[in-house]
């Protein structure tokens, strides 16, 4: 043995495995870098799939099979059913609409407060709608004048059907601050 050979054999570790990058893993249950990464990828993929599935199912909950949506359009009787100068409460519970008749015609007001969505009460003695949640007040016309409500109550589309009945369509609303109350459908002349 030369000196060099002695040095070589002394530095050589007999138990040392070849680097994993060479792909010569000598034992099955030994974790190599490569197998570690493939397991890691599988793990992550499984995690993403499970999470994705979970959130897909969550999202699915937002689209129920059956939707109990109240009717948006309804017949509200004849114009003569409404007294001039009065706020009519008969459709409030069922459809969330106040029907108001004045000298010139009829309009339909939404019963949702424009501040945070409570239902105001019609105070007949004070001639105003008053919200019990934060004190917003509205005139009979729907214009806000008290409390924090930033804009007037919304009006719904109101038209006269062929049979002479009033039809209120809640899918179309008119906002005063956008200048929509001048629309012929926002106010029915009688």
């Amino acid at each position: 043995m030369t000196d060099l050979e002695i040095k070589k054999s002394a530095t050589k570790d007999p138990g040392r495995r070849p680097p994993a990058a060479l792909g010569k893993a000598d034992s099955v249950d030994q974790i190599t870098r490569r197998s570690f990464f493939s397991w890691l990828s599988i793990g992550w993929l499984a995690f993403i799939a499970a999470t994705g599935g979970f959130f897909t199912m969550m999202l699915r909950f937002f689209f129920p099979n059956v939707l109990f949506e109240p009717v948006q359009t309804f017949r509200a009787g004849f114009p003569e059913d409404y007294t001039i100068g009065e706020v009519d409460l008969r459709w409030k519970d069922k459809y969330g609409v106040w029907i108001v008749r004045n000298e010139e015609g009829i309009y339909a007001l939404s019963t949702t407060c424009t501040h945070l969505g409570c239902t105001p009460n019609w105070l007949i003695s004070e001639q105003k709608f008053k919200c019990p949640c934060h004190g917003s007040g509205f005139f009979k016309t729907g214009i806000n004048f008290e409390g924090p409500a930033p804009r007037p109550l919304e009006r719904y589309k109101i038209i006269l059907a062929d049979d002479g009945q009033v039809i209120v369509d809640k899918t179309k609303k008119f906002q005063q601050e956008k200048g929509q109350w001048g629309d012929p459908e926002a106010f029915m002349k009688v």
């Binding site: 519970d93 019963t111 409570c118 004190g135 008290e146 409390g147 924090p148």
Partner: protein, 372 residues
């Protein structure tokens, strides 16, 4: 007795109540040396003595007992929802007293050259987790559970009719711990009072240790070294949070009108509350021209006002009133600090504007859902 009730009802008027609170508050919790001087001169610090605590507790209890003889007061206080608030009044008072008592005690000890009361002295102060601490925790757990059981049996949650979206109860009150926020909603647009300001409260609380990292007086009860921090925090906590809860509970009645604690909740109470925006003040009341059609032109005054408030006031304050704070905090921390404080102050400012001038919004752009 009736005249006493009448006096209480009169000073419960929000303007009187808030103004007197604001005036008294910073003398009791002196925010700077000037207030501290007056605090000492008026001997207001005796409020934190044991005798004062006993006296105040007796007075508060006596007031409650007296109030219970009145049917209107009774119906508010004994409503199961409101019982926590009656408890809160006593508890908040007690713990405020306790901390201030200890703080003044420590200040006095340090002045005499003694060590602070909370100083850890090994081995005398050493307590074992087992059994000492665990034992105390166990006993507290049993007592709290027993208390909650008795409470929930004694004061039952009212079972009301099924929820009906078209029928809001009058008055419709939030849970007691949110009544401060609900009160805030009266003065702001919902997205401001419901989203922006509550988030800023949380952000501000998180920011406290980063803004105020002064070591003096830290780690034990003290008041002398931390006058500004304690006074400001107490203002936010006691006035802008707790007091608004109490106002929302006791003073707000049907149609969200103000009522005195001994006043009958009359649904038809008439209050002239017609309020108007700043733009209407300027264009209609002062200039007698109609509102301009251009939104920007209409709201320009409010925008200027708000920009001035948030952009001109901070540097101005840094040179005058808050000079010391500015020098201590540096410009970055100072900006955050002052903006948070100014935002918090918009609440009392807007309350006053509403009560005194019926001012609704300073900037009101309902066309784009922006109101401030």
């Amino acid at each position: 007795m009736e005249s006493f009730k009448h006096i209480i009802d009169t000073i419960s008027n929000p303007t009187i109540l808030f103004t007197s609170t604001l005036i008294i508050f910073f003398f009791i919790f002196p925010i700077n040396d000037w207030f501290d001087k007056w605090n000492r001169r008026l001997k207001l610090y005796v409020l934190w003595s044991k005798k004062s605590m006993l006296l105040a507790a007796i007075l508060m209890a006596a007031f409650f007992l007296f109030g219970l003889t009145d049917p209107d007061f009774r119906s508010i206080v004994l409503k199961p929802d409101n019982v926590p608030i009656s408890g809160l009044i006593f508890l908040v008072y007690f713990f405020t007293w306790l901390s201030m008592h200890q703080a003044y005690e420590n200040d006095a000890r340090l002045e005499r050259g003694e060590s602070i009361d909370e100083r850890y002295e090994a081995p005398n102060d050493k307590v074992l987790v087992w059994p000492d601490l665990v034992y105390i925790e166990f006993i507290s757990l049993i007592l709290c559970s027993a208390f909650l059981l008795v409470w929930s049996i004694g004061l039952q949650a009212p079972i009301e009719e099924p929820a009906n979206p078209t029928e809001s109860p009058n008055p419709a009150k939030a849970p007691w711990y949110f009544l401060g926020l609900q009160e805030m909603l009266v003065y702001f647009d919902p997205w401001m009072a419901g989203v922006v300001l509550p988030s800023l409260i949380i952000v501000g609380l998180i920011a406290i240790p980063y803004i105020d990292n002064e070591p003096a007086g830290s780690g034990y009860y003290s008041f002398k070294n931390r006058k500004l921090s304690i006074a400001l925090f107490m203002f936010g906590w006691l006035v802008l949070w707790d007091m608004l809860i109490i106002v929302g509970t006791v003073l707000r009645g049907p149609n969200w009108n103000f009522f005195g604690p001994f006043e009958y909740w009359d649904i038809h109470k008439l209050e002239a509350l017609t309020n108007i925006n700043l733009s209407e003040f300027i264009y209609i009341k002062w200039m007698n021209t109609g509102l301009p059609n251009n939104i920007l032109l209409r709201e320009i005054w409010g925008i200027f006002l708000l920009l001035g408030y948030f952009l001109i006031l901070p540097p101005l304050l840094a040179r005058t009133m808050c000079k010391k704070i500015y020098e201590r905090l540096g410009s970055f921390k100072y900006s955050i600090f002052i903006v948070l404080i100014l935002i918090a102050l918009t609440l009392p400012i807007k309350m006053y504007l509403r009560w005194m001038f019926n001012m609704k919004y300073i900037i009101s752009i309902p066309e784009y859902f922006f109101n401030f």
